[in-house]
Symmetry: C2
Subunit: 337 residues, 2 copies
């Protein structure tokens, strides 16, 4: 097989747009999703990059996603923006709600953006990075499908339920983490299965609820949360805050709604934004300095901050472009018509 295809980040974006629009997605929806795909490829997160396009095309063609949905942004209270995504993808709904969310956070100190009726697309770090670019700290939560057993249980009940957090830094990239509350991502299990490797203990249980190191058995059974009962509690919190609280589906309901089609999960998302100046009583500078001192403490003992690897990949990609495996590229290009 030939070597990878090298694409600029802009070319990744253009390719993703073409594929999505060819599948029938309206341009504003396609561009918002393509921005996330291009950002993922740029940051070395190929799991959330072009690799996702075939699945997107399936979701777009399913007839369940509203291909021309226009998010409806509602100014609900001084602290709350609600965006009905109208069964389109989440990224456009987030983009449309962001300016009002930022405005409310700057006035009130804290504000919430509730997105409803959206097809989730990949990672949450784009959301908290966008908030950090506005000088705001952010916390984002979303359910998924009920693939994960709670601590002490043995059947899927919770989603992989990611939690993402961002903190703006005066120089350079924000402090950002974004992780699944499951022990690993579902795609990790599929990866192990495809490579015929045993999974470590603690990742999943089989259909009978027995611990397993067989990836397929865990995919057929249930995944486990990270961190035992604490991770399970956090995953439950995500169901409650980004599901029940905001009038949206839990992971069990989202999975049922999917009716076995295995499309992207369709549910809600909760994003909180915090203004460091207002929250500190007027002056953000001391808090910014405190945070920088904390980060310096990581460096002093050789500990990495989350996202450092992603930012390093970003620098390389912006200089040298993104290497896309040729087989993947050809498969995607065929979808671009």
């Amino acid at each position: 097989m030939d070597g990878p295809v090298i694409l600029s980040v802009d070319a990744v974006f253009a390719l993703a747009c073409r594929v999505l629009e060819t599948a029938g997605l309206a341009a504003p929806q396609a561009e918002a999703v393509a921005r996330v795909i291009a950002a993922a490829e740029r940051d070395g997160c190929s799991n959330h990059g072009l690799h996702r396009l075939p699945g997107c095309v399936e979701t777009v063609r399913s007839g369940r996603l509203a291909v021309a949905a226009v998010p409806d942004v509602r100014d609900e209270t001084p602290a709350l923006v609600r965006v009905d995504a109208g069964y389109g993808y989440a990224p456009l709904a987030f983009e449309r709600g962001l300016p009002l969310l930022a405005d409310k956070a700057r006035h009130g100190g804290v504000a919430a953006l509730v997105v409803t009726n959206c097809f989730h697309f990949s990672a949450l770090w784009p959301e908290v990075e966008a908030l950090a670019a506005e000088g705001l700290a952010g916390l984002a939560l979303t359910p998924s499908h009920a693939w994960v057993a709670p601590a002490g249980g043995n059947r899927g009940l919770l989603g992989t339920n990611p939690i993402a957090f961002g903190w703006p830094r005066p120089d350079g990239h924000p402090y950002v983490f974004d992780f699944a509350t499951s022990a690993v991502a579902r795609s990790d299990l599929a990866h192990y299965r495809n490579e015929g490797r045993a999974i470590p203990e603690g990742w999943g249980v089989d259909r009978n609820g027995a611990p397993t190191t067989d990836a397929q058995a865990a995919l057929d059974g249930a995944m486990l949360t990270f961190g035992g009962h604490k991770g399970s509690a956090l995953a439950t919190m995500v169901e409650l805050l980004a599901g029940a609280l905001i009038g949206e589906r839990t992971s069990v309901e989202s999975m049922a709604w999917d009716e076995g089609l295995k499309l992207a999960p369709c549910h809600g998302e909760l994003i909180l934004a915090f203004d460091p100046a207002v929250m500190a009583g007027g002056d953000a500078a001391p808090g910014v300095a405190r945070a920088e001192a904390l980060f310096a403490g990581f460096a002093a003992q050789g500990a990495r901050l989350p996202s450092q690897r992603r930012y390093a990949a970003r620098a390389r990609s912006l200089a040298d472009g993104v290497a896309v495996p040729r087989a993947l590229h050809d498969r995607i290009a065929a979808l671009a018509g």
Copy 2:
């Protein structure tokens, strides 16, 4: 040795009040702390109960805690209440800020209570339970002292940084969790040391940053977070949201401020409150039903909800009283003058 002393929950409260007031703490401060102590004994959390009183007496007598501090409640924005605890204990500051926080959450959907300059006292579940009693979901965060190494590091930088969450339920007790982001509580390490037992791997490292199963070596070195890099990321988020964001000390600063006196940590606390009706767009009922369906899913697979053990202990204590080890009781009674 004789058997335990059986006290009613009210008698625990009265005893704690007497000890704290004898030490010089003003009545409103003493009563707020005693309410937490009595609640902890009631719920079988003896670690946060009468056992803490000798340490409280030390903190009260240290001259660093303002024994007659009156919390200053400020209505900062439609979404933000700030309470300057004035170097008193946290519980009174929280109690004084709670009505305005609840009011703001009911109007705006989400609101924040920032408590500054407070000596932390024990658990965070009383805060989120109090919010749940108001029909509100709540999230509470606070730093502590820098006893915990970040993932990839080997020296104390982060606090044990608890996260507590509460969700109101229509019948019976709320869904509540409250856990340290460290692998275990610091008191667990002391307990193992006192009993001469080896600690499991993953709880701590020694002074040189090497993994250890020696409790004293971990106490002298650093604790580790739960859940590897994910727990470390959450502990860092607590430093940022409940420290830097709100203009308050991080765990490193709080520890430095203590100057080796080993008093209660003095720093800030962040409490978020969410109104389920406003956040859901007007009607809380469907979300309440969704949450109950989720909890039923736990029961159906034999998984316990967090706090179930605590609520069971509560029922027993309210019926039969609290059993206090006689040696502890006598030591406390001596402090009551």
